[in-house]
Amino acid sequence: MTLAAHSHAAKPLRKRIADASEPYLYSAPALILIIGVMLVPLVLGISYAFRDIQLLNPFSGGFIGLDHFRALGQDEAFFRALRNTLWWTGASVFLQFLFGLILALLLDKPFAGRGLVQALVFLPWAVPSFLAGLNWAWLFNPVIGPLPHWLYALGLLDAPNNILSDPQLAMWGPIAANVWWGIPFFAITLLAALQAIPRDLYEAASIDGAGPVQRFLSITLPFLAPTIAITILLRTVWISNFADLIVVMTNGGPADRTQIVASYIFTQAFKRLDFGYASAIALVLLVLLLVYSLLIVLLRQTLLNKG
């Protein structure tokens, strides 16, 4: 028997440091990059929200406190953009999710040529977003695109006009493009989750006499729920920040009807070159999204604790 003092001896310092630092060594390159190229600029960007930064004005740059936020409180256009963001995000996420789920369920059944079909229906995701935007703008143009004529033939439009220039309908243009572009993301994640459901569960349920609808409700949905929750959360945040399609297709028009917060920031920064004001808006958006995410996470916790 060695002495008790010896057996309780701490690990040598060198080994302790080596052990403790290992995970940091693995994550350091990624972290340094994220901090250097995202976090530091983010902090700078946040500081711009409290400064007067106008690109073409050499006398700008001074601290102005909360002036931008006061201006924001009076800014009708901002509040309209906020409402449009809700509309744009809600409709896009809902439709992407719905069609993505249906697609995933369709692809979960084996059939001849499934691999090819899967590759083809996921293809829109590989299309650069602004190219998708240009292309859909083209499709909605009655002179060079077929969509207005088809919608007219179906009785959905009174005349084969460009819906992108109709204030009532314009938002549906970018939403359609967004749904086309975003379905694959949901389909891929949901398909992966679907394929992870043990098959014998379905067999057991069939033997117990469950019909297809019951099987879907009692097995598929509960198994997918965690994936659905996290995917919708991530997508909601991402889509509210996603201005490419709107900038390319409508540039916020007509009459600001399709202006969302993200595209409004873009306009402030690059049309009016007012980076200070743009940063202030971005900061507000960031806070709103953080609050939204926290709420979702809390809601999930409460539900989990109950269940």
Partner: protein, 355 residues
């Protein structure tokens, strides 16, 4: 080959203690089996010896050298996992030679070591296959092969047979025993299966709740279990227990059961008259005799082919009897039994054996 010394080793995961001070000395060439119900800390102890878990306090020595702070790769031990942990992207031969290649052994040496192990385990026709193309038993053999090519100081096994069916398990058990006979390598074998423990071990370490309950040869644990836990855990079907009071009258003693019946037993020195105690007897030691002192109501008959397990009730206490007497397949509603005194185990109020 090496000896292994474990000195008051404790382990906690965060604030949650799992091992409460384990002491164990393993001789060179010995086959030690750690046995206990699942969750009792067997794997944790094994993984600490392997270097896969940190030691919270205490010392582990291999061949007299303290290894607490050595990485697994520097301990020169081999381990067989319950999942086998074969590298899926390597052939059988590459799986077996990986450790030698890491040590940059000479090509010829690797080839002969792998060849030798393959012959021993009957793996020669499978050397070029991927693990995916092997049956469960073959995978198990490859895992063993991977361990023996290196000729390590010690072999560690973590429930290596749990994923096999009963027949294969029996066969591999015998092979492991034969292999140990050939190699005489220090081995530590974790299992929750007491048959594996009994058949393989030079010495069994019975564990429960992170505490070593008894260390000894298989027959020692069977014949003289140190406490109620070991008594109940070793043997199948498990030992029968009767709680009651230990009463001394003159130079003989009795157990008084709650029903008021008394059973005569040998007098023990270490127990005061009137104290609470538990009496134990193995089902195979109960004697069926028309002249038996006790009447037992028959509840259920389980024929196993080899013998018969009878579930009976004696004075309101359930009990099992193992017999090879085929007449007992159709007993009457009750039988008479005797509990021979020299087969009775007595445990005091704390559950410790009293002799």
């Amino acid at each position: 080959m090496a000896s292994i010394d474990i000195q008051t080793v404790r382990k906690s995961f965060g604030a949650f203690p799992v091992l409460h001070g384990v002491d164990l000395t393993i001789q060179d060439g010995e086959f030690i089996v750690l046995v206990g119900p699942s969750g009792c800390g067997k794997s944790t102890l094994l993984r600490m010896i392997a270097g896969l878990e940190d030691v919270t306090s205490g010392d582990i020595q291999i061949d007299g050298k303290r290894v607490n702070d050595l990485a697994p790769k520097d301990r020169d031990i081999a381990m067989v996992f319950q999942s086998y942990a074969l590298y899926p992207h390597m052939s059988v031969a590459d799986n077996m030679s990986y450790s030698l290649r890491l040590r940059r052994s000479a090509k010829e040496k690797i080839a002969s070591a792998v060849g030798g192990a393959a012959v021993k385990l009957g793996l020669e026709p499978l050397l070029e296959r991927r693990p995916k193309a092997l049956s469960g038993g073959q995978r198990q053999r490859v895992a063993m092969g991977r361990a023996i090519v290196r000729q390590p100081k010690a072999f560690l096994f973590d429930e290596p047979l749990s994923n096999l069916d009963a027949r294969l398990r029996e066969q591999m058990r015998a092979e492991i025993k034969k292999l140990h006979g050939d190699l005489r390598a220090t081995s530590i074998y974790v299992t929750h299966d007491q048959i594996e423990a009994m058949t393989l071990a030079d010495r069994i370490v019975a564990m429960h709740g992170g505490i070593v309950q008894q260390v000894g040869s298989p027959l020692e644990l069977y014949d003289r279990p140190a406490n109620l836990f070991v008594a109940g855990f070793i043997g199948s079907p498990g030992m029968n227990f009767f709680e009651g009071r230990y009463l001394v009258s003159g130079d003989h003693a009795d157990m008084r059961l709650p029903s008021g019946t008394t059973l005569p037993i040998r007098k023990r020195d270490g127990l005061e008259s009137g104290s609470a105690a538990t009496l134990g007897i193995r089902p195979e030691h109960v004697i069926l005799a028309d002249t038996g002192a006790l009447e037992a109501a028959v509840d259920l008959i389980e024929p196993t082919g080899f013998g018969i397990i009878m579930h009976v009730t004696v004075h309101g206490i359930p009990m099992k009897i193992f017999t090879q007497d085929r007449r007992m397949l159709t007993p009457g509603p009750a039988v008479r039994v005797d509990l021979p005194q020299n087969r009775l185990h007595l445990f005091n109020g704390e559950g410790k054996r009293v002799d």
